[in-house]
């Protein structure tokens, strides 16, 4: 009797497991299928893409790729957009992560008048999106001669409240303040203590935030598309926008291969670092 009941329970768990796994697998396919169609179409000729739907790759990838390179080089070579995105994302990542760690250190390691107010203020401005002040930002940047320039895309990264927030959460648990006292006794200056003791201890959090800051900047379309005007300075997402335009409209294979090119770097980074990225999201590290 008892055994039978156990068996029934076991069977119902099995059924549940099958249903849940099936739904999860369906969702995974849903995540992948648009990208798969993209990759497949990148390997087909424009005529094939126009005439039929297919999930099986063909063998025109190199041809499409060469055509894309040629078509892009009529204007600005493709690698240029990648380098541009890399410069902006790299620069803003270094600045935002270093200065955010510094800010978090300032409010965590020191007791000074206004420290708790400064912290509350940082939390509050986390809620103000940059989009609401974009008109003022645009005009101001052109007034100081920073229009069509990378500076407004890199320098403001120093004030990244969400990163500061994450850094402080981590610092409270990972940075014992006694260490700082012993460094002081050993005669280390405050900035040296920060750079040689606090920063190394914060490495895991710094790595996580570097990933998020880099991806965030790499994917950013809003601000660059507002400020950058010359073709040679455009970023990868801006090039993606142009692929919808007249220049590429005639050949569908080129567009798909172009989309693959813009996605590949992130695909690679993601599948190498997905463990850390997901752990970082679970800690509430990403806010966009």
């Amino acid at each position: 009797m008892n055994k039978e009941k156990d068996g029934g329970l076991h069977a119902s768990i099995m059924i549940q497991q099958i249903i849940r796994n099936a739904i999860c697998i369906f969702l995974c396919i849903l995540s992948l299928i648009p990208f798969w169609i993209m990759i497949v179409n990148a390997t087909r000729t424009s005529v094939d893409i126009q005439s039929s739907f297919s999930l099986i790759p063909s063998h025109y990838l190199m041809e499409n790729w060469q055509k894309l390179l040629y078509q892009a080089s009529q204007n600005v070579p493709l690698w240029r957009y990648m380098v541009n995105s890399l410069i902006i994302a790299g620069g803003s990542t270094v600045l935002s992560v270093y200065f955010s760690t510094m800010t978090a250190y300032g409010v965590t390691a020191y007791k000074f008048r206004g420290a708790s107010f400064a912290w509350a203020f940082i939390m509050a401005i986390m809620m103000i999106p940059v989009q609401v002040s974009s008109i003022g930002f645009f005009r101001f940047m052109y007034q100081i001669g920073w229009g069509n320039n990378y500076m407004p895309l890199i320098i403001p990264a120093i004030a990244a409240p969400a990163t500061v927030f994450f850094m402080r959460q981590y610092m409270i648990s990972a940075l014992p303040l006694e260490i700082l006292d012993s460094a002081r006794i050993d005669g280390s200056g405050e900035f040296r203590t920060f750079n040689t003791i606090a920063v190394p201890l914060m490495k895991p959090a710094i790595a996580t935030q570097c990933i998020f800051a880099f991806i965030g900047s790499w994917n950013n379309f809003y601000t660059p598309s507002m400020l950058l005007t010359s073709q040679a300075k455009m970023t990868l997402p801006m090039f993606v926008q142009q692929m919808r335009g007249e220049r590429f409209r005639s050949d569908h294979g080129i567009i798909y291969v172009g989309l693959v090119v813009t996605i590949m770097p992130i695909f690679i980074v993601y599948f190498l670092l997905s463990k850390y990225i997901i752990a970082g999201v679970a800690l509430g590290g990403v806010k966009e």
Binding site: R20, C28, M102, G106, P129, S133, G136, I266, G284
Partner: protein, 336 residues
């Protein structure tokens, strides 16, 4: 006594380094975020546009509430029947259409992934794949979906027509609700993995002894979900709600790059607030003044959600404690 005095002097001395460490953040914030915000607020009360005939900038000159009157009152005098409020409506509709299914699915997956009875072994792989669209460039995803839903020969149309399900291709991106649905779907599809991971972390943060106690008392899975998981998860769910609302109000990349002309087709029904602001400021007569006023409306709406967030996330226990202490003090005074 002397010792404590010297100690105090020392902490004060080190304390000033705190200002040095936080100074770069606040200086950069003041220059690149605060000043532009104040500047935008100021421009909202100014006449500022470019005369397209002579290509000269007019203003900025103070004109009071004129920008706002064109925002709140339509050309036929009806209140709120303006492009601004249509854009706000479209933004909120598309946000709701993505958020409701998003939080439901995320919640379901979070409960499944933390279920100790029915274990899902491959959940690490599922999480990686389900989260993936979140980090892919939104611009690329939008152009990809623009191609997928192309008329008449996009892959989706081919799939339905070639399989004989439909007898002619459908103009997805020329139909109001189809376009809105696609935009909402992309948002949903990009974000439910993120929400799921946050909620999973939330469920894992609940003390396991609570679940155990409920199970010992003979509660069913549904009862446990309804009476233990859901109430304890409420703060984190509200947090995702408000965070998603703040982000959703700024929606730009996807409708900009998905819609046919890039201006919220068909007939501006998928034009969001940020798209409208950019269109006012950077096309045609470059109406910076009015664009700033619309920004201010967006700011106020966003602020409303932010304050709601603070209200939700406030430390209720601390407030209750304070109240209790005050009440106790009062009672003691009364007794004295």
């Amino acid at each position: 006594m002397a010792k404590s005095k010297s100690n105090k002097r020392k902490t004060v001395e080190y304390g000033r380094y705190g200002y040095y460490f936080i100074a770069p953040f606040f200086i950069v914030f003041a220059i690149f975020q605060l000043w532009p915000l104040v500047y935008t607020l100021g421009l909202a009360f100014c006449e500022n546009y470019t005369d397209t005939m002579w290509n000269v900038e007019v203003g900025p000159t103070f004109n009071g509430l004129q920008n706002f009157s064109t925002i709140f009152v339509g050309s036929d005098g009806s209140l709120f029947d303006t492009y601004t409020f249509r854009a706000l409506g479209a933004t909120l509709i598309m946000w709701l259409m993505n958020f409701l299914p998003q939080i439901l699915l995320a919640l379901l997956l979070a409960v499944w992934f933390t279920d100790t009875r029915v274990k899902i072994k491959a959940q690490g792989a599922y999480k990686i794949l389900v989260f993936m669209p979140n980090i892919i460039t939104a611009a690329t995803i939008s152009v990809l979906f623009y191609k997928l839903f192309d008329y008449p020969n996009g892959p989706i149309n081919q799939l339905f027509v070639n399989s004989g399900l439909w007898d002619k291709p459908y103009q997805f991106l020329n139909t109001k609700w189809a376009t809105r649905s696609i935009i909402s779907f992309i948002n949903f599809w990009m974000w439910y993995g993120n929400t799921m991971i946050v909620l999973t972390a939330g469920v894992l943060g609940i003390s396991p002894s609570l679940f155990e106690a409920a199970r010992v008392d003979g509660a069913t899975s549904w009862q446990i979900f309804k009476s233990v998981t859901l109430p304890l998860l409420r703060p984190i769910m509200l947090f995702s709600l408000v965070n998603s609302a703040i982000g959703g109000l700024q929606m730009y990349d996807i409708p900009k790059l998905l819609t046919t002309s890039g201006f919220g087709d068909p007939d501006y029904t998928t034009r969001t607030m940020t798209m409208y602001i950019r269109e006012l400021a950077f096309t045609g007569a470059r109406q910076m003044g009015k664009a700033s006023a619309v920004s201010l409306v967006l700011f106020v709406v966003t602020l409303f959600f932010s304050l709601a967030l603070f209200y939700i996330m406030r430390d209720k226990d601390a407030i209750r404690e304070k109240k209790a202490i005050k009440a106790a003090q009062k009672a003691r005074k009364g007794a004295n």
